[in-house]
Symmetry: C2
Subunit: 147 residues, 2 copies
């Protein structure tokens, strides 16, 4: 487990964990949370801007969180997000994709209001089996200080 | 259904739709996507930074998407996100919360590369039953032109 003192700008974290994307889960996630034809129906998806079935961005974000939790990042106190400066999905996520995650610390700073915590700014990239970025975020995480 | 020409800065969209947040769904969502004690276990959550069980931010984002799809926004071609300029969760989402969504168009612009689409910049605020913002995003949506 890593405390604020253990993080420095430039550190990179990955991990062996992979998530395989399942067509049925793409559709069931979308039916509950993001009911659009391009996430629910193969034929409608082919005729849409996505040119084929694509996972909801929120499904991708949720799968990315699972990968990040399992990665080498391991901040003490868990992964507590204080918001994002950047968030985008450059490439659609397709059935059968195998996703992994890489993250890089961009900045480490103390909290102005609380002496026991700090904030790390982290770029997190979710990649498919072809090395294409399917999600890129720059987020701020709350991390406790060791002392 | 609204095309790019139907959107102007300052327009606000809401809707009657509400989502009631269920403790069991908070835990099952977290078990699949965001396995942290503060999303999974009541006692551990009370001892955490959240001071009680809180929904995963990705669960909140997914519930917000459901509300936005059901809202008066209704862009032609569906809600297609081209990324966010801002994304934060100011207040934890708790079991029993009743969420609703409000959105405001901040900017409408044509695509530089594609004559058939444009981008609207939208601030979306997810509110609980006390009127507290639980999620605030500023995102860019791809919207087709009518002609």
């Amino acid at each position: 487990m890593r405390y604020l003192e253990d993080f420095t700008a430039g550190q990179k974290f990955g991990g062996p964990e992979r998530v395989r994307v399942d067509a049925a889960r793409i559709k069931s996630f979308a039916a509950e949370f993001d009911p659009h034809a391009f996430h629910l129906d193969d034929a409608a998806a082919r005729a849409s801007i996505f040119r084929g079935l694509a996972a909801s961005g929120w499904h991708t974000a949720a799968m990315t969180m699972r990968l990040l939790v399992a990665s080498e990042l391991q901040p003490a106190g868990g992964i507590v997000g204080a918001g994002f400066d950047e968030f985008r999905w450059p490439t659609p996520v397709r059935p059968g994709d195998e996703l992994r995650v890489e993250s890089e610390v961009l900045e480490v700073r103390l909290s102005k209001s609380r002496p026991d915590i700090g904030i790390i700014k982290l770029r997190t990239t979710t990649l498919n089996q072809n090395g294409e970025a399917v999600q890129v975020t720059v987020g701020n995480l709350v991390v406790p200080k060791r002392n």
